[in-house]
Chain length 426, copies 2
């Protein structure tokens, strides 16, 4: 890993793939096919892309029972404990409806209502992600969403990974379907004979999934478009280089386009981390992926002081930030832009991926400037509540009418003046 004094954040930027125009047209055609042909399209496209002829789209209770047999009991207990931790965190995010009143009889409020239905997409492919199930489903369940649907691509045998099924069952999902890619997003957005459409689709996926989510946005709501994972570590001379190297590599192993950045005030630490990364990399099973990520999107930046370091971190707005300095909590107030902030030497990033309780669906590619981790608010919506009394409208109708006329909207003015019993326009 290289140590750099000239800071060039542009080199860390990873846009959407160059091929996306061609892929977009493919995604549009898949979405149309699902819209027009429903289930038939899902069966056909699953055979084409996942190489399996499905008999049923929905996972059966028998398949869920089998999944528990495949996973050892200790692992089931770990999944259950993680689910409890995740629920404990997300319960804190729940909001109440509220109102306030004015002396003139006005009541104004905000009503919080859970969404009716949500679809959680869980990626398949080479790895299975039961943790993504917990992270997508739990905030929806805590929000009070009545219908939570899970969808994920099947393997060559037409099955979903046992861990995914166990996590789905533990988090209380009642409907699980086998379908992946753009076709799964189409099914959730438009509905098919078997799969009723939902109001919102969440969960990460490959480029096809991301493009499909963007296409159906408006018909349904979506969460963010997830890019490759990122980690930034802010550290001073007190930090453990071996911890930092391990944590950087934990994100680098996700994807050759993952970014792993150390920002440090210590040249000694910088050199030690660079060495440690190279050393730890050699024995990693996914060393090719992690190595490519570190070469292309890895960097160690030396800064003069922590203030400059934090400025740089805020510029990067990383998905994951670890702070390993003498007094990490004291720096929290200065950190403006980061999806998740891990404080101190023991808060290794994977703690948040699996177990602590916070969500691991986080804003990437600098969108932490304006986006949030997946949370309970994402599964509710607000309605304003307005009740004017007779006194309130009589006191204010003329003012409201004047404002409406300033905007040239006479019917607005007359609507409030009607409440004064005025009839000059009739």
């Amino acid at each position: 890993m290289k140590i750099e004094r000239a800071i060039d954040l542009k080199s860390l930027q990873r846009g959407i793939d160059q091929d996306s125009e061609a892929q977009l047209s493919s995604v549009k055609s898949i979405l149309n096919q699902v819209k027009e042909q429903g289930d038939a399209a899902l069966f056909e496209l699953t055979e084409k892309f996942d190489g399996v002829q499905l008999k049923e789209l929905q996972v059966s209770p028998e398949e869920i029972r089998q999944a528990y047999e495949e996973i050892d009991d200790e692992m089931v207990e770990i999944i259950k404990e993680a689910a409890r931790n995740i629920e404990e965190y997300h319960v804190q995010q729940k909001k109440q409806s509220w109102f306030f009143t004015r002396q003139d009889g006005t009541l104004l409020g905000q009503k919080i209502t859970p969404l009716d239905s949500v679809g959680v997409y869980v990626p398949g492919g080479t790895a299975a992600y039961p943790s993504s199930v917990l992270m997508g489903v739990t905030p929806a369940k805590v929000a009070g969403v009545e219908r939570i649907v899970l969808i994920s691509p099947p393997d060559k045998n037409g099955k979903l990974p046992a861990g995914v099924l166990v996590a789905a069952n533990e988090s209380g999902v009642a409907e699980i379907y086998k379908s992946g890619g753009a076709q799964a997003i189409g099914a959730l957005a438009y509905g098919t004979e078997t799969i009723q459409n939902v109001d919102k689709i969440v969960g990460p996926g490959n480029l096809y999934v991301a493009l499909a989510k963007r296409e159906v946005f408006g018909t349904v709501d979506i969460d963010m478009i997830a890019g490759p994972s990122e980690i930034a570590v802010l550290a001073d001379q007190t930090a453990n280089p071996s911890y930092i190297a391990a944590d950087l590599l934990s994100q680098a192993e996700h994807d050759p386009r993952s970014a792993a950045v150390l920002v440090t005030t210590s040249e000694v630490l910088a050199e030690q981390v660079a060495e440690e990364v190279d050393k730890q990399l050699q024995t990693l099973p996914r060393r090719e992926i992690a190595g490519e990520a570190v070469r292309n999107y890895g960097a160690i930046y030396l800064v003069d002081n922590l203030k400059d370091g934090i400025h740089l971190i805020n510029e990067i707005a990383p998905e994951h930030l670890e702070v390993m300095t003498e007094s990490p909590m004291e720096l929290l107030g200065q950190i403006k832009h980061a999806g998740a902030i891990f404080l101190g030497p023991n808060s290794s990033e994977p703690v948040g991926d699996y177990f602590a309780g916070s969500n691991h669906v986080l804003p990437t590619s600098g969108t932490a400037r304006f986006s949030s981790p997946l949370n309970v608010d994402d599964f509710t919506k607000k309605s304003s509540v307005i009740m004017y009394s007779e006194t309130a409208i009589k006191d204010n109708a003329k003012k409201i009418a004047a404002f409406a006329r300033l905007e040239g909207l006479e019917a607005h003015a007359r609507a409030v003046e009607k409440r004064l019993g005025e009839t000059e326009h009739e």
Copy 2:
């Protein structure tokens, strides 16, 4: 206005214009021009589309002073009172950062941070919308956004409407620019020599503005894509037909594609409202627009009982809902999908457009199923905070590592195991 017993909600649906493909390519080219040429593009496009050669993009203090001279003092006081009401409502939406701790030394939290910078687009054209200024700026200000920029298309004399400038000044905007359409959105998203780019763009606009916002989404955040206005009224035999007709027309006058729907249990009321709409329509200055809206997207639906009525309202998920029944507050719990809910005979919809305090930027076209009124949360973002103690990591590292290995992510497992002092992989 027609009374219908067969309920066909599809006839109320208004998609995006058929021309949008051609307009999209025009929008893309405008955005590129702004990205490449900056200010020069803004001057050129403003001359082309708004018919005026600007000298400066930014509104001067002198122009703001002149605006106050153009608006009478009473109107300024009304704008100030509306601004205070809007602030009072939005202050209630402000959220605190929070944390909780576990006995093992774990601290988990959620940090709320305002966005750094926001751009508020205010439409121009035939009407001026000072109220949109208050509604876009106030929640950003309450959220704590440091830099709030306002942008709006100039008239043929190169000026912005006096009401817009007064509202902007009263709500504390320091930067106001003259530019409209897709070019204004491009300037906010990419920045120019004069206009520094922002992190989020809010505010309604025409189709070009909507398409441009959708294009730049990802580079910056946006609020919702606003469609034509809608009002639905749920009423029983106790309601005043003249009030209902006036309120329906207040939304119909916005746009020929506005929707105005009455859902009622009373056939007598239905007939009276139908008559009243026709009568009141005749003397409206904007009767052509309102008339077309009522003919194309107006409907009176008769239902057997209020339960069916509420079911229908939830299907429509209207932007504005008025409830004029004997006990409107008792129905609030059953209303799931509506942007703003106006209760009782005195809560005429324009009350919410201008004055009561709630936001008038609301989800349209059925998106109230999953979207919210513009609010303070839209101008903040959350960061998760995770601090594990030595005890917490030692107690849980093996469990976390097992979960990571279940997902095939060995570097994740090793990162947490590093904290156990294990070195077997080195």
